[in-house]
Amino acid sequence: MRKVFHVAAREFIATVTARGFLFGILLTPAIVLFMVFLLPRFTTKSPPRVDGVVAVIDRSGEAGAELAHYLSPAAIRERRLEERRRLREFAASEIGSGVTAGAILGAAPEEPLGEVPHITVVTLAPDADPEREKERLKLSLAPRPADGVLLAVALVPAGAVVREGDGFDDYHLFVRSGLDDRLVDELQAGLEGCIRGARLRGSGIAPELVAELVRVERPPARVVTAEGERKASPLMNQMLPIAFMVLLMISVITSSSSLLTTTIEEKSNRIVELLLSALSSRELMTGKILGQMAVGLLILLLYTGMGLGALASFTLTGLVDPVILLFLLVFFVLSYFTVAALMAAVGSAVSEMRDAQPLMMPVMMVFMVPWLLMVPIGSHPNSLMAVVLSFVPPIGSFVTLLRMASGTPPPLWQVVLAVAAGAAGATASLWFAAKVFRVGVLMYGKPPTLRTLIRWARIPD
């Protein structure tokens, strides 16, 4: 056992001190941090600062003045503040109210806004020719026109406000090529709001009253548990199971792939025979598997710690059941042993990484299944497919964890059966790997097929 420990320690140290590993393990959190904290700051929904003119041919006589007010800098500023307030309220109900939520959302409502567009709305005569105005949209911006750059032309027919025949007419909006889509959205929203208000007023209904009548606030549902009540968080309820499964996959794939690489390296470096003069093939394989398991656990601990830290900053740690964390560990061990043993078997059988690819295909399929079925299983965690896959090792470990972290976890007997199936799968995989490793590690030359590996496994000790 002491020798196994020495092999495991060397395997662990050699892996975690490699530059590639350090880069790889830090890259993922760096990408996550970038996505969470920096990306929102680079992508704003507000249109950029734009100076220009929007010409309105208002044949209804009702929309022009209101659109001018809607697009005034003061109104735009007011709407942005209101949007920021609503976004923060939504975030507080969905992802907590901690410091990270604030960091993701950016500035607080009371903080100053950036520059807003300065748009001048010019109401043209109702009989103005739209085609002539559209021609002006084609004019070059250099030299800049003295009366301002024409950004858009809006045509509001009288029938857009007053019903003529079966229904209302549509408004038309023509914009300059290259105009920011977000500004176009704002123009459309302004025109639609003005026309809607004019229609309501024309029907004798106060628009404010309608707005008040249709608005029903939706308070977040509260989850009642033995420990007390907490707010339901549908968004996080969908994300957390997937996060757990991805976490399990990353740790298993990284560590077992590393095992494959180091096994092939030892064989191609011709050091394996030297090792086998001091250890049995079983001791060598066990040491290598345990060493890489420690690598996987390190990744798991690191990422879980980061995840919990992120949740704490959102004040959402209550969403994570400690039992799930325990099963994360259990399923890691089961799936790791199953996959890593197969990787060790493949690694021992070939002398070069490219020879491993055909033999790796079935192993990689193991990862593809839960990855492809992640969304349907997450949406329907107790469907027949989800239940059946829970008992197929090592897929079952990923699927069961996904189901357990969902809002409707599986019954206890299914979890117990999934663990038992996972343990049986790991045992069978280790047995197979030990048999193949013993023969394969000293074999050189033509890379074996899957059938050859099975034949090796059947050779008696």
Partner: protein
């Protein structure tokens, strides 16, 4: 003297190929034994079974008194023919790791590693990565891994392959040093000259079967001197004149001289004057049979002597290249 290695009726097959056939061998403790034979004779398979890396299909073996080779692993040092090292590891760390898995106590490792590195002239390389060493330096480090734990039995598989003449000499000295320390040394080689220079006990293997087993001196002395190195005075002389002498089996031209093979049990006092009478010589030298000659004699029943000799010459040529 107790036996370090005992093999009784060992057989090992790989599919349809029998690599080692009904092999029985006893190597006394303290011996310096060479296992010789051409490439593919079964030497490496035999060594792997002694080490417990492979297991025989049938037969029984004992290593350093242990019923299983596995039980004696920490008392055995091994230098495989195909040897490598961890390229990214530093030399000191690599030696420490190999010593640890050989069961060496942690407290002794640093001292022993430093002493060995000094002995082979690599004291300055202790903190260098293995990949930074030249091939010769790497081979020295590999040798240290096989002896750092002071093994009772040292097994070396083709230890001289790939070494330049200077390092071959160093390796011979190191092997002899381990033998003087008291280790039983078993090494395989397909270069007969190396075996003749080092061994006190010789085992020949051919096509998986043992064809010779005994002390080197006794083996050589038991054979009649049947080859005469004959250098004619006239370089244009006809060797056929020697072939007509009674007691001559054949003549081979070898550069400026001829090798005259005599028939078994020939009377040297009669045949040598007859040779000198047939062709005037500059030099006549009666040569004892070498291991190569003995090997050819022994196995000539299994393969044509000419073919075997050519194969052996090729092997010797490879080894010296």
């Amino acid at each position: 003297m107790a036996a370090a290695i005992v093999l009784e009726g060992i057989t090992k097959t790989f599919g349809p190929t029998t690599a080692v056939r009904d092999f029985t061998l006893e190597i006394p403790a303290g011996a310096l034994c060479g296992v010789i034979g051409p490439n593919g004779a079964g030497k490496t398979t035999l060594i792997r079974m002694i080490l417990g890396i492979l297991f025989p299909d049938s037969g029984r073996l004992s290593v350093l008194g242990c019923g299983s080779a596995f039980g004696a692993r920490d008392r055995v040092g091994y230098l495989p023919e195909e040897r490598g090292l961890y390229r990214k590891m530093r030399v000191r760390e690599f030696l420490a790791y190999m010593a640890r898995i050989k069961g060496m106590p942690d407290g002794d490792i640093a001292t022993e590693a430093a002493a060995w590195l000094g002995r082979v002239g690599l004291a300055d390389a202790a903190d260098r990565r293995c990949e930074e060493l030249s091939k010769g330096m790497q081979q020295k480090v590999q040798f240290i891994t096989s002896v750092i734990h002071r093994p009772e039995l040292l097994i070396l598989d083709e230890p001289f392959s790939g070494l330049d003449p200077v390092n071959q000499r160093l390796m011979k000295d190191l092997v002899l040093g381990e033998h003087r320390r008291g280790a039983t040394v078993l090494f395989s080689t397909h270069i007969m000259q190396h075996a003749e220079e080092l061994c006190d006990h010789i085992v020949m293997i051919h096509r998986g079967a043992k064809v010779l087993d005994g002390s080197l001196r006794a083996t050589l002395e038991a054979r009649d001197a049947r080859i005469v190195v004959f250098e004619p005075l006239d370089s244009g002389a006809d060797p056929a004149a020697l072939e007509r002498v009674e007691g001559v089996q054949g003549v081979e031209r070898d550069a400026a001289s001829w090798n005259v093979l005599l028939t078994p049990a020939v009377d040297l006092a009669v045949v040598i004057p007859a040779l000198a009478a047939a062709v005037t010589p500059v030099r006549i030298l009666l040569r004892r049979p070498t291991l190569e000659d003995i090997f050819i004699d022994i196995v000539s029943g299994a393969a044509g002597a000419d073919g075997l000799r050519a194969g052996l010459k090729e092997a010797v040529g490879e080894g010296n290249a």
